[in-house]
Amino acid sequence: MSAHSATDKFVYHEPGLQHQFEDMGQQEESVTIGMWMFLVQEILFFGGLFTAYLVFRYRYPMAFAAGSNHLDAFWGGLNTLVLIVSSLTMALTVYFAQKGNRSMQVILILLTMFFGSVFLGVKAVEYTDKYNHGLIPVTGWNKKTPAAEPGAHSAHSAKPCYEVEHGGEHTYVNPHGDFLWTDCSLVKTAMDGNFLTSAEKAGYFDQAFAPGAEISADKFRDKVRIFFFLYFVMTGLHALHMIVGLGLMTWLLWTAFKGYYSAEYYMPVEMSGLYWHFVDIVWIFLFPLLYLLGRHFLHTH
């Protein structure tokens, strides 16, 4: 029965071949499929958030337009470009790994890491800006600026109005660190232009269907806050993936520097590349969805 015995096979140990595999081809195929399955899983992980985004954007387009307009498309666009560059350097890393070129590999990994860090730096700037403007959707987490200081960035078109409150010895613009949003101008415009859906009317107004109803600043704020909640969760999760990616890159840098990879064995480089590109793809969607959609409305009305 046992006509085929182990001695029939040509057994040698290639670098990095794990015990459960018969040969390198089998291992590479396994690793590739495994990585792709992991990415499939990641796509659905983000997918839950995208579904939430979809539902709320469908129901409250104006609140989302208002929130979206308040993000800075310049920073967002810049970051998109930064990420694309890092994707290019990553792709080239793999390319040079395949060619077995160690020094180019090291240089390109460093570049990838540099651009990745720039991305995170820009994100930090943006987050700080939101913090200063009272746009963190969590009560108590926003800046409690003394009123004497003039608020920075007064050039924004859809600037939320600050309510000045007097308390204690100092005067604070935002004593409780609330989520600040009192600007309902966009809804007014949309209301006058008859652009509101009935869901929005029910969502923004106290008496939804009464003639001459007043916009409820509170209700509108709740919806904008949902936008910012989604903004922070989605970009936050994305940033977390970037940080993991940078960790991966550090390890890759070390191993590449040590010369672990060759034209025969470069799986880890390729797999890290897949991960990095995936993170890039998520941002390709986040950028228009969070920063851009709804901008035309402000532009044309």
Binding site: G47, F50, Y58, L88, A91, H277, P288, L292
Partner: protein
């Protein structure tokens, strides 16, 4: 079993840079497209255009940077399948929200 080593020949530096340029153009395009009011043509046109550009960008990243173009059927399948599953999630959730009508459930 696997023919990963063949990938050496599929891409070269000019091609990588070409893909990169497509991505840059896409980014710029999507920004300006967002400023134009296309919703007046039909509602949702802006969103549609933004998503079309995003999908194109995604496609080139996947096909060339991630080498899907030269990969096995299984990889194609998992790439397409995962988006198909996302589409299921979106479509079947939205079919509820889009069809809530007055007089029956909801208002």
């Amino acid at each position: 079993m696997s023919d990963n080593h063949e990938q050496h020949d599929h891409m070269n530096i000019p091609k990588y840079v070409g893909v990169f340029l497509v991505l840059v153009v896409g980014t710029i395009l999507t920004y300006y497209a967002a400023l134009v009011d296309m919703d007046s043509i039909f509602p949702g046109a802006n969103t549609l255009v933004a998503l079309l550009i995003a999908f194109t960008k995604m496609a080139v990243v996947m096909l060339f940077f991630m080498h899907v173009y030269w990969s096995k059927r299984l990889i194609w399948l998992s790439a397409i399948g995962s988006f198909f599953w996302l589409a299921i999630m979106f479509a079947f959730t939205l079919q509820d929200y889009l069809t809530r009508s007055e007089g029956v459930f909801g208002r």
